[in-house]
Each structure stands twice: as C-alpha cells, then as structure tokens.
Symmetry: C2
Subunit: 111 residues, 2 copies
DNA sequence: TCTGCTCATCGTATATTTGCGATAAACTAA
DNA sequence: TTAGTTTATCGCAAATATACGATGAGCAGA
C-alpha cells in the first residue's frame, strides 16, 4: 500500500482511541468481550462452545484483544484464563465517554 | 426489561457496536469526528487543509463515516457540509456506555 | 457556451484482516 | 515414557481496507 510522504502527526489519544475501536470492530470480538465482561472468567475452550468458529480463529481474535490491552491471558495449564483487563477497560470507558461527550459543546448554527 | 432507549435487536446489537467501532477504528476518522464534534460549526473541504492526505482519501474516510451513520453530508453547492449525525451519535454514546458499563456486573472469582 | 471550483468515484497497487485446517508447543496424568 | 488435553502458531486463500492520481459530475458565474 502506498503511504503518504508526509508524516501525519496524530495525537496519541487519537491513535489509542482508533486502536481500541479497531479491536472492538468485529462482531465476534464484541461477543467475546461481552462474555468476559458480564460473566465470570472464560477459558478459550468454553468460547469455542459458545462461538461457532474454528478454535484457531477464536485464538486469533483473542490475540487481537490481548494486543489492544482489553483482556488478559493467564496461563493455567493446561488452560488459559482470559479476563477483561479491568484497568484498561476503565481507561477505554473514560476515553470513549469523553470522545462522545465532545458533542455537548457542539453548536451547529450553519444549517 | 428494556433498559435502553434503543430498539435494537439484541443479536444485532453486537453487529451495530462492531460496525460503529470499525468506523471509528482509524486515526484519521477519529480526527475527523473530533473536528466535527467539537467545532462550533460544520466542516466542508476545510478538512483537506487540516489533514495532510489526498482529497480522494479523505473523501473515502468521510464515506465510511457516512455509511456508519455517524455523520451527515449536506450538499451545499459547490461544497458539502459534513456534520455529526447527532441522533446516531447519541445512540452510539448510549451503546458504548452500556457496553463498557457491563463491567460492573463483572465478578471474577476464579483467580 | 466556457471556466473554475468542490467533491465523488474509478482504477490501481499494496497492506491488512479474516478464516480454516494442520501442526507445534506446553503441560498433566497414567 | 506415552497419551491426552488445551491453546498458539503456521501456511494458505479470499476478502477488505488503505492510499494515491486521474477523472467525472455538478454547480455558479463570466
């Protein structure tokens, strides 16, 4: 892919918001997050029973959520326990709260 | 029973959240949304002055935000005025609020 | 008409994502 | 050691996403 010659200077916050949103931006990952956030901890094996996808595919999605910092993976042989990363989860909540709330100062008088 | 103002099918809710998150999941689109949401008035081609990217690329990103329902595009020859879609913006705010707040019922006792 | 302006779309190239089966890795228990 | 369990990673194919320049569509005014 061609990239811009200019260096786009995003504020860090914009990149953080985008990366989190990107991680959430898939129905399966939304489902996984909801399962982890609203119930007790899940293992990958339980997720494969709840989500009709190949185990390798679910593992990939879990990896994406891990990389985004939204979940943690605690090795507990022979299983791995995945949980919501509560600290980052609250940070994300605050970030998106501010992001959407920006609309409050919005005062369009050009229409 | 119904706790939100939204009348979204629960199975569809995951797809709605994912599609919105996907639209937000790019730094340029985050920047655009912030500009539209925080400025006093709506933007048109001024975006090309604020974002060092080709005009066609910015148009593509605007189209993505339009498809996600996050912004509106009002033709005002020879310009187009883009605004936050306030109704959907508030719906998105509510959706993500609920989504992150699900953590409250989270009670991990498996560690 | 013609010109200029703004924005959308097309065509292209490349990057990334997504999904699967197969297999490897790590550990436990027999 | 061997066998079984669970999860991660590899390799591949197909679909999407990203970015650009070039071009087209639409409108206003000369």
């Amino acid at each position: 892919m061609q990239r811009t010659l200019l260096t786009v200077d995003y504020s860090n916050e914009e990149e953080v918001i985008a990366s989190i949103a990107k991680a959430i931006g898939h129905p399966v990952r939304v489902k996984i997050l909801r399962l982890l956030a609203s119930q007790t901890c899940c293992f990958t094996g339980e997720l494969t029973e709840l989500i009709p996808m190949a185990q390798s595919t679910i593992s990939q999605h879990l990896k994406a959520l891990l990389n985004a910092g939204l979940i943690t993976g605690e090795i507990n042989p022979p299983k791995v326990r995945y949980c919501i990363d509560r600290e980052n989860w609250q940070k994300a909540q605050a970030l998106f709260g501010q992001f959407f709330i920006a609309d409050r100062e919005y005062n369009c008088d050009c229409g």
